[in-house]
């Protein structure tokens, strides 16, 4: 379970980094999205992956090892919202740049090759 998660995080993060380094703004934004998926999964895994276990309990008299940690879930929720908003903002800037420069190259002009 954890191995599968770890491998997927690695693949997502690797692809994200590669895409961010590409010259087209669309590739960059896709890379940023993949990176944020990887980071969100990573935060989840930090709560130690648990299947089918409740995060919040009604009574105080319990064994914590039987329950999932609720904090990473709360963190992921916040991180998703913030990441989504800032990626949306980047999308707007990307469109503005496309409109102003007429190219989707990150430098605002095609390379001289």
């Amino acid at each position: 379970m954890e191995a599968v998660l770890a491998i997927s995080i690695g693949v997502l993060f690797g692809s994200g980094v590669w895409l961010v380094l590409r010259p087209r703004t669309f590739q960059v934004i896709t890379g940023l999205l993949l990176l944020s998926y990887a980071v969100n999964l990573f935060i989840f895994l930090m709560g130690h992956a648990k299947l089918n276990q409740a995060p919040i309990t009604p009574t105080a008299d319990i064994d914590p090892a039987q329950f999932a940690d609720p904090i990473p879930q709360a963190l992921v929720l916040t991180a998703i919202v913030i990441g989504f908003a800032s990626t949306g903002l980047y999308l707007v800037v990307m469109l503005a740049s496309r409109g102003l420069t007429g190219t989707d190259h990150v430098d605002g002009r095609e390379s001289s090759t």
Binding site: L32, L35, F42, L75, S86, L89, V93, L100, G108
Partner: protein
């Protein structure tokens, strides 16, 4: 009862800009004077609140000089705690001062070229104040994002293709940093099981070895995010482009944004890796020191190579970041207090210089400035920007003198505060090391700082001579009182620091001393009791 109410002051630096920013959205750009008035009022109010907090701390209202506010009334490691201490108050005072300068400067033109400029500005202040006040890592992330989201909008302010290009790179760099920030926070949580900074610090000494390694990895990744914001080499390549293309009042505020990264590093590092932290004590100090020195070197090369005033200002900001980070890494009370003095004076001077850049550009190339004005005038509406304020005589003399003052502070020449700051740094490095003795690291740092001052002198002198004396097209610029006054005020604050250096330095000494004795901070945060409910239940 009154005693209880005092602690509510702590959350006001976040609430005031948030509410006034929201209020400003409601007014249309036609009520420009009203919008301007509200934002000046709100920023002045933030300054007043910070001054009250300073008084409360100095009068010993809070034990150890640390005030705690439990948002939602949950006790510390579980709920959200806001913490104010001497260092936080210092930053809370500096923020509205720079903010007022920048807002004041925006009266003539920059406030009029975009729609929600003043709201964004207030949200930026909210993020900054929040980042200074927060006591836990995840809220730090949230406030950083608030600050950055506002700064994205402000960097694009005065919309043209250069700004959009710079803004795009700025946003990508900061989104990547946010990812690193989150990974770091997650690792620290995995290692210590808490996000509250005081609780992390309390748990660090007792960590098992595997968890300790995890904590080190987590902090390293987290600090990479802060170092990118504070422009440490090799993470500083985004800075000159962004700063030199941003509109002048925004660039002045961006100067403070680099200091937020440094503030956070100082706060976390002195808290978590203090002398009490067992085998983690002083983790990463040498990395900070040497990369700081390399950063100064990079800044020197950049300073000498730059012809454009915006880039000179940007590289000065990089030099100042490098100097600060390398001095902080010594982790002594004396060095930290010297670093804080340097931070105050260099932040104000670089910010004043960033405002001045536009006026200098008008001397160098009046035609281009006019062209830029007409290109950006699309949003001004019925009121032409030039009509606001009164044009002052002797403009060339003012710009020249302001340039000389800023240059003297940034280069660290006597008699202004820049010199005192550098003197304080050298004094601290040479005196404050009875036990560690000033090794080759200290001497290297002293040498590099001296050389950086020399490079700044060369760069400023070359630029000043070319612009003010040798330029064939030098022509007195049109200058409004509202443009000159904030620059004058910022420089005068530096002069004030020079005159009142004694009391200020004693305050900074106290701030640094409490920073390097984190037990008081930890104890205050973790032992702060929740306010009892109406029924007597907590």
């Amino acid at each position: 009862m009154i005693e209880q109410l005092y602690s509510h002051l702590i959350i006001l630096p976040i609430l005031v800009p948030m509410l006034s920013g929201a209020l400003l959205i409601l007014f249309s750009q036609r009520n420009f004077s009203l919008k301007f008035g509200i934002s000046v009022l709100s920023t002045a109010l933030q300054f007043a609140i910070a001054a009250c907090l300073l008084l409360l701390i100095e009068r010993g209202h809070w034990q150890n000089g640390v005030g705690v506010y439990l948002a939602a009334n949950w006790i510390a490691p579980f709920g959200i705690a806001l913490v104010v201490d001497r260092l936080a108050v210092l930053m809370l005072l500096l923020t509205p001062v720079l903010g007022l300068g920048a807002i004041w400067y925006s009266w003539v033109r920059w406030g009029r070229v975009g729609v929600h400029y003043f709201s964004l500005f207030q949200f930026l202040l909210m993020g900054l104040n929040g980042a200074f006040l927060t006591g836990d890592l995840f809220n730090l992330f949230v406030f950083f994002e608030v600050m950055l989201a506002a700064s994205y909008g402000l960097v694009l302010h005065g919309y043209n293709s250069a700004r959009v290009r710079a803004g795009m790179q700025y946003i990508v760099v900061n989104l990547l940093c946010s990812s690193l920030f989150l990974i770091g926070v997650a690792l620290i949580y995995a290692a210590t099981g808490t996000l509250n900074m005081a609780d992390i610090a309390a748990r660090t000494p007792a960590l098992a070895t595997p968890d300790r390694h995890l904590l080190h990895v987590g902090t390293t990744i987290l600090v990479v995010a802060f170092l990118t914001k504070s422009a440490l080499w090799p993470l500083c390549f985004w800075l000159p482009t962004t700063y030199s293309t941003a509109s002048p009042p925004v660039a002045a505020m961006l100067v403070l944004l680099t200091k937020v990264g440094i503030y956070t590093i100082l706060r976390l590092w002195s808290l978590v890796f203090s002398v009490d932290a067992g085998s983690s004590a002083g983790f990463g100090a040498s990395v900070l020191l040497w990369s700081g020195i390399v950063t100064i070197g990079f800044g020197i090369v950049g300073l000498i190579a730059s012809q454009d005033p915006g880039r000179i200002g940007s590289y000065s900001a990089i030099v100042s970041s490098g100097t600060l980070l390398s001095i902080i890494s010594f982790g002594q009370t004396l060095t930290t207090s010297a670093a804080l003095f340097y931070m105050l004076s260099s932040t104000l001077a670089v910010a004043a210089f960033m405002l001045l850049v536009e006026l200098i550009e008008r001397i160098r190339n009046p035609a281009a400035a006019m062209l830029a004005l007409t290109m950006e005038a699309f949003a001004i509406g019925d009121e032409p920007g030039e009509s606001a304020g009164v044009a002052i005589p002797g403009a060339l003399a003012f710009v020249g003198l302001a340039f000389v003052f800023c240059a003297m502070i940034m280069a660290g020449m006597p008699p202004l505060s820049g010199f005192l700051a550098k003197f304080g740094i050298f004094h601290a490095l040479m005196e404050g090391h009875e036990e560690t003795s000033m090794g080759y690291a200290g001497w290297t740092l002293v040498t590099v700082i001296v050389v950086s001052g020399f490079a700044a002198i060369i760069s400023f002198m070359r630029f000043g001579v070319r612009t003010f004396w040798a330029s064939p097209i030098a022509k007195a610029p049109r200058l409004q009182v509202t443009e000159a006054a904030p620059i004058f005020a910022l420089v005068m604050i530096c002069v004030f620091f020079t005159v009142q250096a004694g009391p200020l330095k004693r305050y900074l000494d106290r701030a640094a001393a409490s920073l390097h004795a984190p037990q008081g901070y930890i104890h205050q945060v973790l032992s702060h009791a929740a306010v009892p409910g109406p029924g007597g239940a907590p």
